[in-house]
């Protein structure tokens, strides 16, 4: 059965079906993005100065967003050219413009992926006194040498084996002197023989040689110098080797610290960088006074400096075990070894980092998904609709117009996203 009004207009509305359909769909899309933009405004207005962290303004690198804006605008022009060529019954030129549209979509998604990669490999750490360092996390592990482990068959599994530094399956001895290799079937048999999952008795195992573990801290329930409890209640006895956090500092931010000269971060970065920071701060305060404006703690320039460009020169400082000046790595950035209990929060610049990045990833991720879906639809029109063109060219022109309307909408959303996320 032929669906009516796919090419010609309905007499009552003057519109063909898909045209009404796409506009109703776009209306729902406006509400979807509108809700998220409203959420953004709500979160941003809800920041309380002095209590919440300053809202990050102009933190993103502008050029990828700028290039992507140009790319999307160009693609919008190309898609309307493609539609116009179809209306003029020029299929080869339609294909040419549509290829450019798909290429633009790929460039956009490529650049967005590059930006996301940068965010996921860049980290921030907040100290107990609310001073913040940003840069690259080099190591965040709890290293432990185990000479004995106590496995609770009810709760315990073998997940801890993933954290063995040496990947080979170790051999253990039970208290009875029986030699065992830890496998899932061994655990199952143990559970059966000791009364199922509620079995309280722990099995003590000793490895043939001390085992070196490198645990993800999130998997560790508690630890001391001699004992470590894994998250499934397996207890390890032995010696703690290292639990420090190694962090390459690119940037420090003391806007939330009351006594910035006494900030915890300087016990790691050293006096030279502290003096450089204080000098920078005083210069910024003086500049603010000369400009006749109040010192605003939300001003990014005021208390947000790059340690490699101030004070201690590249490679001049060298770290020591007791928490002196951070050693400079090959890039000139200092690497600090932070005591774990000095850390308040540590994350990459993903959605968990702060509310700004949460809404940034939600909005740009949803927009990126629209670009991907739009590109797939237009690619389908490009490569698989020649037969339809030969049969009924106006029908294909209508389909491309509908796809194009969606594509323009995607461009329209980005026109607002770019200044809001990158420039404000």
């Amino acid at each position: 059965m032929e669906i009516p009004y796919t090419v010609t207009a309905r007499p009552d509305t003057g519109l063909w079906n898909a045209k009404i359909g796409i506009w109703l769909f776009l209306a729902s899309e406006v509400m979807l993005f509108g809700g998220l933009f409203s959420g953004y405004v709500f979160l941003r207005l809800g920041v309380t100065e002095g209590i919440d962290n300053p809202w990050p303004t102009r933190q993103l690198i502008v050029w990828p967003g700028f290039v992507n804006t140009i790319v999307l605008i160009a693609s919008s022009v190309f898609v309307v050219f493609a539609w116009a060529e179809l209306k003029m019954r020029n299929f080869a030129r339609y294909q040419f413009w549509m290829r450019l549209v798909v290429l633009c979509a790929l460039v956009f998604l490529g650049l967005k992926s590059y930006e996301y990669y940068g965010k996921f490999t860049h980290h921030g750490m907040k100290f107990e006194d609310d001073s913040v360092v940003e840069g690259v996390l080099q190591q965040d592990r709890i290293e432990f040498t185990a000479t004995e482990l106590s496995l609770s068959p009810g709760k315990g599994g073998l997940e801890f084996l993933k954290y063995l530094k040496d990947g080979t399956a170790p051999v253990f001895k039970t208290a009875d002197g029986e030699e065992v290799r830890l496998t899932s079937s061994w655990i199952k048999n143990l559970r059966k023989s000791s009364g199922g999952v509620d079995a309280p008795a722990a099995v003590v195992l000793k490895p043939a040689a001390p085992l070196e573990f490198s645990f993800n801290p999130k998997k560790v329930q508690a630890y001391t110098g001699e004992e470590l409890t894994f998250r499934d209640a397996t207890v390890f006895k032995g010696a703690l080797k290292d639990d420090k956090i190694y962090f390459e500092v690119h940037d420090i931010d003391l806007r939330m610290v009351e006594d910035d000269a006494g900030a915890m971060v300087f016990s790691y970065l050293g006096d030279a960088r502290k003096d450089a920071y204080l000098e920078h701060r005083d210069a910024e305060l003086k500049k603010a006074e000369e400009d006749g404006r109040a010192a605003d703690p939300y001003d990014t320039d005021l208390m947000h400096i790059h340690p490699e460009s101030h004070g201690a020169a590249h490679g001049e400082t060298h770290g020591n075990e007791t928490g002196g000046e951070g050693a400079a790595d090959g890039h000139g950035y200092p690497v600090i070894e932070v005591e774990r209990d000095h850390k308040k929060f540590l994350s990459n610049h993903g959605p968990a980092y702060n509310t700004y990045y949460a809404i940034y990833f939600t909005l740009t991720g949803l927009h990126g998904l629209h670009v991907l879906i739009g590109a797939l639809v237009l690619t389908y029109f490009l490569f698989f609709q020649k037969k339809l063109y030969q049969k009924n060219p106006e029908h294909l022109a209508n389909r491309v117009e509908v796809g194009g309307l969606f594509w323009h909408f995607v461009d329209l959303v980005w026109i607002f996203l770019f200044p809001i996320m990158y420039l404000m």
Binding site: L24, S38, F66, I73, K87, L423, M424
Partner: protein
């Protein structure tokens, strides 16, 4: 939008002009935010910068909607659909004003707590 090939040829010229205008205004958006000489109001991000940025974005979005999406010459049913959309969109935007004016908090918050 119903068009003959001759009319379409004329439209293509308009699309080109709009494309160049959009790109030019993208440069202006970045310049207003990044070049100190063009900075609106005090140094750094101010309400003035946000207003100018959003005004330019709204102008660009209008061009896309009116010319590329052919809203300058559409059938009345589409305008009716969009009228509802615009109404509810602004409703959504102003919902966030309750963050600034919260009658429940004003009534029940005990001073000094």
């Amino acid at each position: 939008m119903e068009s003959t090939p001759e009319e379409i040829r004329k439209h293509v010229k308009a699309y080109k002009v709009v494309g160049y205008t959009l790109i030019a205004f993208t440069f202006i958006t970045v310049a207003v935010a990044k070049v100190p000489f063009l900075d609106v109001g005090a140094h750094g991000l101010t309400g003035g910068d946000i207003t100018v940025g959003l005004l330019i974005a709204s102008f660009k979005a209008s061009l896309v909607a009116l010319i590329f999406m052919h809203l300058n010459a559409e059938k009345s049913l589409i305008y009716k659909v969009l009228l509802f959309t615009v109404f509810f969109f602004f409703g959504l935007m102003f919902l966030s004003l309750f963050e600034l004016w919260n009658p429940i908090r004003q009534i029940f918050l005990v001073p000094g707590t």
